[in-house]
Amino acid sequence: MGSIYADAKYQDVPVEEKERLFQEVKADMRWHTTLYGCYECGICVAACPSARFYDFSPRVFAQVMAREDVHTFYELLNDSMWDCSQCFSCTRCPRQNSPGGIITIMREVAVKNGMQSAKTALQAYSRIIYKVMSTGTQVAPDMLQPDFFPDWGPDVVKVSENLETWRRAIPPETLHTTELAWDVSEQTQLELYLIWKLSGNLDMIETLDEGIFMILTEVMEELLEEHGYDLDEVEVLV
């Protein structure tokens, strides 16, 4: 039996591969608290923002996973799951499921396995990953550029034109920054980078985007060495 979708796109993918990824999702320690079954009541769909504007349904995730339908699981893994807003409105589920939580785990599996769906969904997003991994803050004032946010109107133009002085015209001392959201000490940035490295996250980034991985490791490891860290001592602990 194949997927529930008549227009399934991945019928040629061997079932063993689908099964392997499915088991990887189920092996996550959070799995047991995200799915308890499904009443098929649709409450999650009514609460879900993404269901209103995409061909997307949290109920389908709960049911497909509960029925262990690896074919449809693979379809979702390659497409629909990236539409989720991760708002967790679906925790209203009377069965105590968290369809959003299932999706968090599925996305992690897709990224870890370097799946094309993850690469495509995160294509324009990788520079944000670089920002947060290297500086410790995810968005910065200098991102407020009209070419990045053309739909946010003329205020973005005003902010970007006046950025340097307007940042200085904010009283808290930590906010006089343009490239970081606040002033994060260099030692703290290095500690964050060590966490990424020790937890095996850099391997994940390498699978996702080799370019970002190379810049990140080059910049940060030079800094670590400058600060007297012995990189041979820093191996993946997880």
């Binding site: 807003s85 991760q86 925790t91 995810q138 968005v139 407020l144 005003k158 015209a169 009283p171 980034i205």
Partner: protein
């Protein structure tokens, strides 16, 4: 006979006078029991709020929660500091005005959960280690964490659940933190700044300078505040009969503004984490069609008050494009900290930094009795001083 019966039984009480008083057992396990258990076994350090330095509030299932009053370590938010700097500045300003000590650290990183919910390019061990590195830093700095971002708050509560239930994860995180020379610390409460604003609302009201009785307000509650690990969000029987979170609505009511309801109160704002950065057509559609237009039609508010980074950003910035399509939009969006600060007489540009917001907020200021033309001229004067090199930065003294 029937008239006698009426005397004995006056009939059902009116709906507004009825209150459901919950008597049953709390349906969820209590994280504090588990935290203190692990501490007794020597596995973790629990960072406690000092005696005498907290206010107790009620939470969803009736448990009490301690909200620290001062000596707080301000765990800042990327989006607030980066794109809506008046949001965080107002939180600090409120502490200064109420005379409460706080610490604004440089040894803090983001929780990185915006990235995590957008991309999942991380794992549980990294996310927990990042949380606990921040907590350990706060502990070593001698201040109790106060979390500015709703997503950090929700994510840290998820992390708490994972840490409490998975020995393997604790071991992984301990090995990472050992390398950093940091202890495994968890605070006894995860506290959002808006809970502090809620707990301080009477003190804020006592210092209120503006009359807000004719200002119509709708509230948007942040999903990651009250939907993600629901049990320790604040609920108060005096607000919505205790059936919705009281946070944000509590301060709006305390300030005497005209709080109005609308049918999509529970809906998300449309932020979407990944969507707001690289797929904004969805965020814009949801924010304007499901939230702003509903509010406009049903309550016609002067302002939307909310309590998270993503909600202010999405609800505010999405309106420009919708206006171009002649949609029924045009409501300013502020955080509860900015609204409370304005009510207490904070400068709209030097403190609340309203020029970083998208929707025209001048009509709101007029309704609040703020002379925005004069205020803007005062702000520009400070900007000129910075440009001319007379001062390097705007100081708190200049702003106050």
């Amino acid at each position: 006979m029937s008239s006698k019966l009426n005397v004995i039984n006056p009939g059902p009480t009116k709906a507004k006078d009825r209150f459901f008083d919950r008597k049953g057992e709390v349906p969820t396990e209590y994280f504090k029991d588990q935290l203190f258990d692990l501490e007794a076994k020597g596995e973790i350090i629990v960072h406690r709020i000092e005696e005498g330095n907290y206010v107790e509030v009620d939470t969803k299932y009736g448990r009490k929660k301690k909200i620290p009053i001062q000596n707080t370590w301000h765990h800042k938010s990327c989006g607030q500091c980066g794109h809506i700097p008046g949001y965080s500045t107002s939180i600090f300003w409120l502490h200064r005005q109420l005379g409460y000590n706080y610490y604004d650290p440089k040894d803090q990183t983001s929780c990185t959960a915006w990235n995590y919910y957008a991309s999942s390019a991380s794992n549980s061990a990294a996310q927990a280690a990042i949380a606990i590195r921040n907590f350990a830093q706060a502990y070593q700095d001698g201040y109790f964490p106060l979390i500015h971002c709703g997503t950090s708050y929700g994510h840290y509560k998820e992390t708490r659940n994972e840490i409490l239930h998975h020995q393997g994860l604790r071991d992984q995180v301990r090995r990472i933190l050992d390398k950093l020379g940091k202890p495994l610390v968890f605070p006894e409460e995860i506290v959002h700044y808006s809970e502090w604003v809620h707990a301080m609302r009477d003190q804020i009201k006592a210092r209120q300078k503006l009359d807000l009785s004719n200002v119509v307000v709708t509230v948007h509650p942040a999903c990651h505040y009250h939907k993600l690990v629901v049990e320790d969000a604040i609920y108060d029987r005096d607000l919505y009969d205790g059936q919705r979170t009281a946070t944000v609505s509590g301060i709006v009511k305390a300030l005497g503004a005209d709080l109005q309801d609308y049918s999509t109160w529970h809906d998300c704002c449309g932020f979407g984490f990944r969507h707001i950065l690289v797929s904004r057509d969805f965020s814009r559609s949801f924010a304007t069609l499901r939230k702003i237009e509903r509010m406009k039609e049903e309550a016609n508010p002067d302002v939307v008050i909310t309590h998270d980074t993503g909600c202010v950003t999405t609800l505010d910035k999405s309106q420009f494009a919708a206006k171009a399509h002649n949609r029924n939009v045009g409501i300013p969006v502020l955080s509860d900290s900015q609204f409370a600060a304005l009510a207490m007489g904070a400068h709209p540009y030097k403190v609340c930094q309203l020029h970083w917001h998208g929707v025209d907020n001048r009509p709101l200021m007029e309704k609040m009795g703020i002379d925005h033309e004069k205020a803007w001229a005062e702000f520009e004067e400070q900007v000129e001083r910075i440009k001319s090199g007379e001062i390097e930065f705007l100081s708190w003294e200049d702003a106050e």
